[in-house]
């Protein structure tokens, strides 16, 4: 780790101001950023902790929408997002207890790790990413692995999920970290059917449109059966699974997620 200055503002406005400094970086739960600093892969001059900003915390459900403050931990979401059970379950399966007690939804969505779970939920629910300056539809927000629509110094303040009629997430765990080797989030709601896949693609989280089309008319596992799995060529290939294996899992897990969503 290299040395840095540390700021702990109590309002979003102060945080935005602090992030205006050169090479400043936001710190939320630190579950991604701290290891990166330890390995000297990042060297911010100022770390701006978001943990003292009360406005960034909490889960609330109103009129079919679940809003989660960006600074809310995975453990809190798991415990308090009962209005959207599939999302609460997803949060409860992230990493291990330490990760869940520190890591936050804002940090996860901002980081957009290609194997993270929340991006699949956000894209798979058609969520809205709320920042200090604007609202961004999930479809526009995720732009490839570790890449998002966020501008320099922009802070996510909340994520708003329309609560679908049916939804489920199935994750095939990387055996050590419990990240998604492949994870599939399906939902069926006012906005139609969505199938979001994480862990698999070199382009990060994506919507499997062929499956969405098939499921739009027949929301059953059988509707996916006849589809070819997406091409393995564009998939992540690593020690834990080749692109072809991941592509295969996308289809298997989609079927299982649909079956699970149907209860």
């Amino acid at each position: 780790m290299y040395s840095f200055d540390f700021a702990r503002p109590t309002s979003v406005a102060d945080a935005v101001a602090a992030l205006g400094q050169e090479d400043a970086q936001a710190l939320s739960g630190g579950q991604t950023l701290i290891p990166t600093l330890k390995q000297r892969l990042a060297s911010p001059s100022v770390l701006v902790s978001l943990s003292a900003i009360a406005d960034l915390k909490g889960v609330s459900a109103e009129g079919g929408t679940l809003s989660i403050g960006a600074g809310t931990t995975h453990a809190t979401v798991a415990a308090e997002a009962g209005a959207y059970p599939a999302l609460a379950e997803l949060a409860g399966q992230i990493g291990d207890p330490a990760v869940r007690n520190r890591g936050t939804i804002g940090g996860s969505i901002a980081n957009n790790d290609p194997s993270a779970c929340y991006p699949a939920a956000a894209l798979g629910s058609g969520a809205t990413i709320v920042t200090n300056s604007r609202e961004i539809a999930a479809d526009d927000y995720f732009q490839g692995m570790f890449t998002t629509a966020l501008e320099e110094g922009e802070i996510i303040t909340a994520v708003r999920f329309p609560i679908p009629e049916k939804a489920a997430y199935i994750k095939f765990q990387q055996p050590a970290s419990r990240f998604a080797l492949v994870g599939v989030y399906v939902s069926k709601g006012a906005g139609g059917v969505r199938v979001a896949v994480t862990g698999a693609s070199n382009d990060g989280v994506f919507r499997w449109s062929e499956a969405e089309a098939a499921l739009a008319g027949d929301f059953s596992a059988g509707a996916v059966e006849g589809l070819a799995a997406p091409s393995g060529a564009d998939m992540i290939s690593d020690l834990h699974g080749s692109g072809d294996y991941r592509a295969h899992l996308v289809k298997v897990l989609t079927k299982r997620a649909v079956a699970k969503a149907n209860g």
Partner: protein, 793 residues
Amino acid sequence: MTIRFDNPDRPNSYIGKTVPRPNARKLVEGRGRYVDDIVLPRMVHVAFVRSPLAHARIEGIDAAAATGVKGVLRVFTGADLAAVCTPWVGVLAHLKGLKSPPQNALAVDRACWVGEAVAAVVATSRAAAEEGAALVEVDYDPLPAVTDTMSALDADTPVIHPGLGDNLAFRRLHEEGDVEAAMASAHKVVSARFRTARHTGVTPEPRSILVDWNPAESQLTAWHATQAPHMMQSVLAEHLDIPESRVRVICGDVGGSYGIKVHVYPDEVATAAIAKVMGRPVKFIADRLESFTTDIHARDHEIEAKIAVAKDGKILAIDVDDWTGIGPYSVYPRTSAIEGNQVVNLCGGPYDFANYRARTTVVFQNKTPTCQYRAVGHPIAVAITEGLVDMAAAAIGMDPVEIRRRNMYADDAYPVTSPAKMRFEGLSHHASMDKLLTLMDYDALRADQAEAMKRGKRRGIGIASFIELTNPSPFMYGIGGARISAQDGCTVRMDPDGSVVALSGVTEQGQGTEAMLSQVVAEGVGVTPEKVRVITGDTQVTPYGGGTWASRGAGIGGEAALQAARALRHSILEVAGAMLQADAGSLDIRDGQVVNADTGAARLPLEELGRIVYFRGDTLPKGLPRELVQTRHFITMDYPFAFTNGVQASYIEVDTDTGVVTLLKHWCVEDCGRVINPQLVDEQIRGGIVQGLGGALYEEIHYDTDGQLLNGSMADYLVPMAAEMPDMVIGHVETPTLESDLGAKGAGEAGTAGAPAAVMNAINDALRPLGAQVTEMPFTPERILRALGTITD
């Protein structure tokens, strides 16, 4: 007087009972003392600059920037240390033809694997040492890397050590009977290609050493996380040119070893050499990446094997061609040829058959050196043997239990000599199998499997019989010229308060050695185990011994402790007889009291006897021996090794959509002779099984073709984790060895030996109806799906 082990109600009956571990509370409360907990005045830290290339000439080392870092005191190169530390060669005379080049504490001129230490930076803090290490500039000239085992001997493969002529470290062919003829006339011949993955031990406590050189006493003291303090004493003395008597190795608490910490590591010897040069205590604690790149690896084998069977299932012949890549050096002093040698010795182990051929080919590569890791060679040999036996059973339509019953040595056949020329004193394959089948309820499990199949679930049962080599004699290392003691000693002393101290040459690595010793000594003397304090791991204090390896602690060290304890008991009773004016033979010691042997009536507490002996010796008869300290040593003589046996079973379910194997349950029945502490033995078996399951399903060190290690972290090197582990049912059959009064053989490696084969057979049992088979470990979900043809390239 012999101990009536058959009577569980005998006085002081601690041998055979679960007694608490004396050191458990200390460790659980965080009061253990590991090497890294020790801080000495003027202590400095060393960090190593390690080769980023698998094979490269070192053209130059520029340490200017490093020495400029605040806190950095000195930078050592290979040449610097070569001046004070002689190189070593990892060969043993009885492994005929084994060759290996001289190896230095720091690479001189050439680095031969990614992670090999090429320079050492010494600083007042670990952080400064690491900072300095990052700034040492090494000018490398890359050389071609040899990474593939099977082509290592090809004519167009570069020779890693030109002075040796080729990349062949060792080759051994063993032939018994006429394999070709047996194969030619057999009812069925089945062949398969097996692969066991290169993996490593992943000790919770990394390798650690702290060395102090005291010039005033000309004495070197090393606090070392090691399994074999006396071996290290000898090695440090020889290579640093210090009389052996002036080297003291202290081994305090150790956070797991599994064989990893029984070898001579260049960076550890370098630490000692630096301490001697600088005259200051020097500490080295490996970090996790260093553990992955420099702890020994193991099990990197590729095998072609065949079995021939008759119509009735009798094994006619086994033919094994084993290849293993061991890295660029044979590890000192135990050598890297032992694992392949063990494969030759152990294949076919449980079975009575006539024609056997096995060859091992041990080649050099530019990867981390491999050497002995828990159950050396056993998991490989058991996978080959048991894999073949199951395939043969399937080929002739016989139940896997039945084919084993027809071939295992009869329980009354002993002593016998196997086709591999291993001598078995007494094993219990059939009794163990019977017990296993009862424990697992084999027929009910088969019914459950069939029932599951109806629900579309693919379940499988796998059985693996095995033998395990324990209690080694000097035939393992000593005859080859290594100063490694197969003998072990124990000194037992009674202090004035009637308590007992036992000093033993075997060591505690977290496995419970001290618990085992305390109960053996307690029973031998006649006190409760709490009255016994055990001291291990200090070459200046304990009797000379081998330490922890090859499952020898209880069988060898335990017997020495028993004999010493009983000698002390005899001495105490001699004094008691004089004090009580009774015949010593009419007295006994029970729960710390001298009693009448026949009635049990209390006569004299040991603390009173202690008070008289130590403070009022004037009241005892002149000339009465009062030696309340006794030492005994034990070495096995009748057999080179005490073989044990056992059988494991695994019940698994394969998810044929994802390829995931779920371990439903696991059983092991094993025969380690006398069970001294049932709970400790059961946990040794369980821990061993977990390591075996790791090899079967998860653990694999990956290298690319340039010799870069690809998964040097706990995020990418998969180890078995609690959530995936099945319930394990452990049972025992006891066939004590007649070589000792205690009758104990080893139990530390049985779990690891059989688990991978049991899982492999279970998976193949589940996949067989689908026409698929796996033989390449670990059985990852993707490998399962490829075997099923679900994924193809």
